[in-house]
Symmetry: C3
Subunit: 209 residues, 3 copies
């Protein structure tokens, strides 16, 4: 019987909150990685890798709990989709950070800092929207966060396209062009995954309100 | 009670039909974008962006309806998968169109026109297959459309591989090679998503016939 | 009534086992493709293409069976996820093989052979983990395989990152760099999909043990 119900003190909503905190921390680390230059880039990328591993653990716990829980507080498929997308955010941030170090990019272009900033703003909104899930009393506020996350995703997409077009016209070093293009695309995928999270949350709000 | 049932006049099948119409229109716009050259490329890419936004709205309506509907005419997960894949088709077409303009490709290579033609043919078949879902009386015809969509996906894949191999051997400008390769891959993903739609429809036909 | 139950002699577990065998065979073919050089590369890539087609058939049979079966031995969504991911493994192996031939890569770099070896090891573990699903008696052994598949995925990722960094610093031919980078990434995706399979299996073991 005990197996059917998650312990009150750490249910699905706590797991979502925990992983959202990791995501916020990782986006801040990524901003530091870009700001502080080569010397400390490796330190920050290791921190992000560590946060990504912690995220994997939470995802694993969530999936285990999902398979052990008979009655879930929200739809099973929504829980599954949410945790997958939240975990994706960390994976793509980590992929971008590792490549930044490995490719020895050095000085980050302004557009990349801009995207890192957008990702951090999205992460904070994801955290707030996720924290509302447990009681759904602030549903109007949650919906506003989701709309804003969507707007930020469009902004990230615009920055990406402009940055890549600029690379093609201005960057003489074709190797550097390929490296930076890849990192930009990974960062844009981060904001795509934030949008996916927002879409799941919106659906849940609609269903339960 | 009223919330449980979708209004007759605009249920899931209508939403699928609406988005299929947008897809057909977008594939035709993309053909025009390639045919008419730089001057009007921007006009067509803006039209495709607009169709993509309309598609987002329909997807959003579908997800909302899914969360508000207790008993659905076909499996919930099939509805979810179908609308996601249909929406993907528009997203990838839009991504290809935006890049074509942004990268200032200019003259489209013949293989790209060929892929755009294949995508338009797939879109028309998707529309017909989708329109059969509401009564499933023409299931044999629907299955034929799905087989043909699969065949076209293989054809698109063959064109892609040949085109990219040709780029590697013939295209002297490495920037142009990278740009065109990316657009080809996006167009091939369009036909992949058409195939995904066909696979879901086939499953539904099998289940309900 | 007969439609509700899969014939004993070929149920879901047999389909999973069949496709796992194809995957093992395909990873071995890929190793041969890299080992034997240009002359026989085409032969092996055709064999892999053929295995990929057989995989499509099994996936199709599984989806059909899923839609015709009322009570499934494990969760429907787990069956769906498992077959999709198993099929993906073949698709990405095939994509890597086709590109190797089409791009006329010729001599495979050592890191690529290393990744092919890792993929073959993962495939063997996937086969063993999948074969345990039908009775779940060796669940501890299955869990060990899944942990090992995860470890191999990390190893593949490390090889990929090192190999691509090496390409950027050492490969003078930018076309060759782009070609090899793409093939490495496809091979890394193969090991990602093996990990996805392991994660689904772990969840099933947890649920039913």
């Amino acid at each position: 019987m005990f197996r059917l119900i998650l312990p009150r003190e750490h249910g699905f909503f706590d797991l979502f909150r925990d992983i959202s905190n990791l995501i916020c921390e990782a986006t801040r680390e990524f901003q530091l990685l870009l700001a502080e230059g080569t010397a400390s880039a490796e330190v920050h990328s290791k921190k992000i890798k560590d946060l990504e591993h912690q995220g994997d653990n939470i995802t694993h716990q969530t999936m285990t709990a999902l398979h052990k829980t008979f009655i879930t507080p929200i739809d099973r498929e929504d829980i599954h989709e949410l945790i997958k997308r939240l975990d994706d955010i960390l994976d793509f941030l980590d992929a971008a950070a590792q490549r930044f170090v490995l490719y020895k990019v050095g000085e980050a272009p302004d557009d990349m800092r801009k995207m890192a900033e957008i990702n951090n703003a999205s992460a904070e909104l994801v955290k707030q929207a996720v924290s509302g899930l447990s009681n759904l009393k602030a549903s109007e506020q949650m919906m506003k966060h989701c709309v804003e996350i969507n707007r930020l995703e469009n902004e990230a997409d615009t920055v990406l396209r402009g940055a890549v077009a600029k690379l093609f016209s201005d960057e003489a070093d074709i190797r550097k062009l390929i490296k930076l293009k890849e990192i930009y695309e990974l960062l844009e995928t981060v904001s795509d995954r934030c949008e996916d999270v927002a879409n799941v949350i919106e659906s849940i709000v609609i269903e339960y309100s």
